[in-house]
């Protein structure tokens, strides 16, 4: 046993050093949502460390004290059915831990599913992020521009991503800004994020989607709002317009570099909101209001075009 523990502690120590070099992405948050989850993760690690310590300690004690080699030949272990007090304790303590973690979970889950804290009063930047084999298309309806495989965002502004897919289920994930969410073909999912710090972040599809999955990454750059506006103007002025033919070509399976267009595909290929495939009852209830809202966005955007 000693061999094993010393080895384990060596391994753990090694990781602590390795991990110390550069903070792990998920635990190095750059936005309020990622910060919430990072805090939850630290709370859970601390709580679970207590459990692990208790079990390991108890086990080490039992295994050392009651091994046959440390006992006399004629020792005969007693017959013990159980003990109500001990059994109550081993139920009660886990129950308390689980209640504590449940409260943390429910609270934080509602938090990360809503507009980030501190940004509730402002209008979020809406980005439609859609995936196709093996690319990401980012449509900015209000700005009326579209990019492929890269995402520019302003800092200090709530971001509302509307996710859907032109192929297999994918998962939109920018670890340093917040958790992931699926993009699917027959329903829009919404992800609320925000960036506090300007910088470049890794974004990727986290859900296996076939041959090109490993390279299905996108580049995220958070910049000051002024810079962002400047970029938008620049794109509007200089980028080629996105036509239906061009978009069909983009959807073909494969990898593309980073591309920029003025105009979005939302007009000629509307995202699966509300009226998808004649489904009236399944998913629409909880997202109904959002859908209506989203339609307005797309429509106004159209008239401006």
């Amino acid at each position: 046993m000693i061999k094993k523990w010393s080895f384990l502690s060596l391994v753990v120590g090694l990781f602590a050093i390795l991990a110390g070099c550069e903070p792990l992405l998920v635990l190095d948050p750059k936005g309020p949502q990622a910060e919430t989850t990072a805090n939850v993760i630290w709370i859970s690690i601390a709580t679970m460390a207590i459990v692990v310590a208790a079990v390991f300690g108890l086990m080490a004690y039992v295994v050392f004290k009651y091994r046959a080699s440390k006992q006399s030949e004629d020792y005969e272990p007693p017959h013990i059915e159980g003990n109500p007090i001990i059994e109550t304790i081993i139920v009660a303590i886990p129950v308390i831990i689980i209640i504590f973690l449940s409260i943390v979970t429910v609270k934080s889950t509602y938090e990360v599913e809503a507009t980030p804290k501190g940004y509730e009063d402002q209008k979020p930047l809406i980005v439609y992020a859609s995936s196709s084999d093996w690319k990401w298309h980012f449509s900015y309806p209000e700005e009326n521009i579209e990019t492929v495989n890269y995402l520019y965002i302003p800092t200090d502004r709530a971001l509302e991503f509307r996710l859907y897919s032109y192929g297999p289920i994918t998962s939109f994930w920018i670890p340093q800004l917040g958790g992931q969410k699926y993009a699917m073909s027959d329903m829009i999912t919404t992800l609320h994020l925000a960036a506090d710090v300007p910088g470049e972040y890794m974004g990727r599809n986290a859900n296996f989607s076939g041959k090109g999955f490993a390279e299905n990454i996108f580049h995220v750059k958070a910049m000051s709002p002024e810079e962002f506006d400047k970029w938008v103007e620049d794109v509007k002025a200089n980028a080629e317009p996105l036509t239906e033919e061009k978009f069909d070509e983009l959807l073909k399976p494969g990898h593309l570099g980073q591309l920029t267009f003025s105009g979005t595909h939302l007009g000629f290929l509307p995202p699966p909101e509300g009226h998808h495939h004649g489904s009236h009852e399944t998913n629409d209830d909880e997202h109904g209001s959002e859908h209506a809202h989203a339609h307005e966005d797309v429509d106004t955007d159209h008239s401006g075009h």
Binding site: K4, R67, E87, I98, Y110, A206, G210, F213
Partner: protein
């Protein structure tokens, strides 16, 4: 020739051609060997047609070990590919096939037969029965499983392996995105094996409810029997869901239906739900028997009765119930909103409570015991800390908000290997070593076994602990490669080293079997571990009828009471024993099922129709068959029991 194009592999590679040759040569070697040693008759009459639960158990065991190595090679290939950044060992397609088959083989074709191997061998003995309730169906279960496994395994040399992950999410697994027949193999081979498992479930529930020895009330059953009962109850309720999911998937893939497709109203999320409504209980189908094995092993080698028997029973019942209420935690990120995610978080974390009770009960069983560190006990003791890490990370994953960051990453991969390896693999190896003498009449070498244990225990930690970190650092699972800039390299290399350690451990187990077959003593008596339950009150090796006299039981540890307190178990006169007849039908019918599945996979409709009719013809044959079994006469029993009786008296 176009017709035969479908059988070609879409993405051939030298490794696959080499495997083809190897498979061909092995088959030829087996045929020649059997012919040369004139063993065809023996194979047919003693194994292929047997309905004896002990032999079926051993066949399950052999199949499980074979599949363990198939899945293990897949694992090594994955770890080798990801050991260094931008590795070119496997291409993306190949890697996708490898991790898909690794998952399916390990869960469906390794872990499942392994638990059924031990259940088959042990449970009838533990409850003092002569066989299972439906011996013929039991053989059918095995052969269906076996043919399903073989069907799945030929995929990589004929037509191409499935490549959509073991979860096979639609629409990726649909015809639009997986054009090869790989996913057809997935749908049909798991279907065939799954039908076998469902039949086993019915069989074992009936066996345990109706065939226990007189006096063995439910609350006097050994813990492994309890876990078997509950496990099979989960099987009966969960497997039909898989049956339907696979049926609907087959409708989509072979008949152009639009249940899970992207167009015409199909719903991809439905597959995920159906899959995990089966998939999560499946996890507990694997782990509960393991808990039973640990209970037996820890109690035997601590020389103490199991602490908190009632709370152990209560906790497995609660776990089985909750196992059906947590499936949504496999896709918190599907956008179902914070309310359902919160509810499923709480149910998920709640499972930790009964599981915790079990861990503490095992520790309390060891307390005040006299612990002997034999190989089975090492696995059981090693299980506790490693599984605890798996368990607490499970609670962490159960917290929905945090799961948005863990989901689909190596953190998740680390977690479930930290539960499945100690929870299932360790238990199977513990059970295998523990019951081995009863199965084969000699013991496995303790020395080699301990070496294997340390390689496996340390290898597990080295292979999977780094993944917690790469996961938190943003490494998604199922990526066939990554760039150097990500910095995942060193930790992945460490995982690879751990995987090699595991491989050495498993190789040592094989060597141990070889070594012990050659050198181990055959003179081990009937109860070499000084154990506590009825399976050790039989002869070694066990007679076909198990018990000459039906045991009378009145405690949880019938044999221990016999040995320590002289409570008689076998009383009364020996009577003639009714035994079921062997039958070739289960084997033949399963072979037809194999052909049926193969025909459907390649959309060959005429053979599919012929084999369907043939399957029904087999059932008709069974309906009309006159088979009343046979009797073993009193004289014959007395003759075989003579030596044993003397021994038995000495033991008392």
């Amino acid at each position: 020739m176009d017709y035969f194009d479908r059988f070609a592999i879409p993405h051939p590679s030298p490794a696959i051609y080499a495997s083809m040759v190897a498979i061909g040569l092995t088959m030829i070697a087996i045929v020649i060997g059997l012919t040369y040693f004139k063993k065809w008759g023996y194979l047919w009459s003693e194994w292929l047609t047997t309905v004896d639960h002990k032999r079926i158990g051993i066949m399950y065991l052999i199949a499980a070990l074979l599949m363990l190595f198939r899945g293990g090679v897949d694992a090594l290939m994955m770890r080798a590919q990801t050991a260094v950044p931008d590795n070119k060992l496997l291409d993306a397609q190949h890697y996708n096939e490898v991790f898909t088959t690794h998952g399916v083989v390990m869960i469906i074709f390794m872990a499942m037969p392994f638990i059924y191997a031990l259940m088959n061998f042990v449970v009838p003995l533990q409850i003092g029965a002569r066989d299972v309730a439906f011996p013929r169906l039991n053989a059918l279960s095995f052969w269906l499983f076996f043919m399903g496994a073989m069907l799945f395994n030929i995929s990589f040399v004929i037509g191409g392996s499935p490549d959509a992950g073991w979860t096979s999410y639609f629409p990726l697994a649909g015809n639009d995105f997986s054009q090869s027949v790989g996913t057809n193999y997935y749908m049909l081979s798991i279907q065939i094996a799954g039908i076998g498992t469902l039949i086993s479930g019915i069989n074992f529930i009936t066996t345990i409810f109706r065939m226990r020895a007189p006096g063995m009330k439910l609350m006097k059953m050994p813990m492994f029997t309890w876990t078997t009962l509950i496990t099979n109850a989960i099987v009966v309720f969960a497997f039909p869901v898989l049956t339907i999911a696979l049926l609907l998937g087959t409708m989509d893939r072979l008949f152009g239906a639009h249940i899970f497709s992207m167009t015409n109203g199909g719903m991809d999320m439905l597959w995920a739900n159906l899959f995990w409504v089966w998939g999560h209980p499946e996890v507990y189908i694997l782990i509960l028997p393991a808990f039973g094995i640990y209970s037996e092993v820890i109690s035997t080698f601590s020389r103490r009765n199991l602490y908190g028997y009632k709370s152990m029973v209560a906790s497995i019942v609660i776990i089985s119930f909750f196992s059906f209420l947590v499936w949504m935690h496999h896709f918190y990120t599907m956008g179902q909103g914070p309310l359902s995610n919160s509810i499923f978080s709480i149910t998920t974390m709640a499972i930790a409570i009964p599981t915790g009770i079990k861990i503490f009960n095992w520790l309390l069983t060891m307390r005040k015991g006299k612990i002997k560190f034999t190989v089975p006990m090492l696995y059981s003791v090693g299980f506790i800390p490693i599984f605890t890490i798996g368990g607490v990370t499970g609670v962490m994953l159960g917290m929905a908000s945090a799961d948005y960051q863990y989901h689909n990453t190596m953190f998740l991969v680390a977690h479930f290997h930290y539960t499945i390896i100690p929870g299932v693999v360790f238990a199977m190896l513990a059970g295998l070593t523990y019951w081995w003498p009863k199965m084969f009449g000699f013991m496995l070498s303790e020395r080699i076994g301990k070496w294997a244990f340390w390689f496996i225990a340390i290898g597990t930690n080295v292979a999977f602990f780094p993944m917690f970190f790469t996961g938190l650092d943003g490494q998604a699972r199922r990526m066939y490669t990554y760039s150097e800039a990500t910095g995942f390299g060193p930790l992945n290399m460490l995982s690879f080293v751990g995987a090699i350690g595991l491989a050495i451990g498993f190789a040592l187990i094989v060597y141990n079997i070889y070594y012990s077959v050659r050198y181990a003593s055959r003179d081990i008596g009937s109860d070499p571990w000084d154990a506590r339950t009825l399976e050790w009150a039989t002869q070694t090796p066990v007679q076909s009828y198990n018990f000459a006299r039906t045991p009378q039981v009145d405690s949880i540890e019938a044999l221990w009471d016999l040995k320590r307190n002289g409570k008689p178990v076998f009383q009364g006169e020996i009577e003639k024993i009714h035994m079921p007849n062997s039958s070739g039908m289960p084997f033949i019918m399963s072979c037809i099922f194999f052909a049926w599945g193969f025909s459907l996979i390649f959309s060959m409709w005429i053979p599919a129709i012929i084999t369907t009719i043939a399957i029904f013809a087999c059932m008709a044959h069974r309906s009309f068959e006159k088979d009343d079994g046979h009797y073993i006469s009193v004289e014959e029993i007395k003759a075989t029991e003579k030596d044993w009786e003397v021994l038995n008296d000495e033991n008392r």
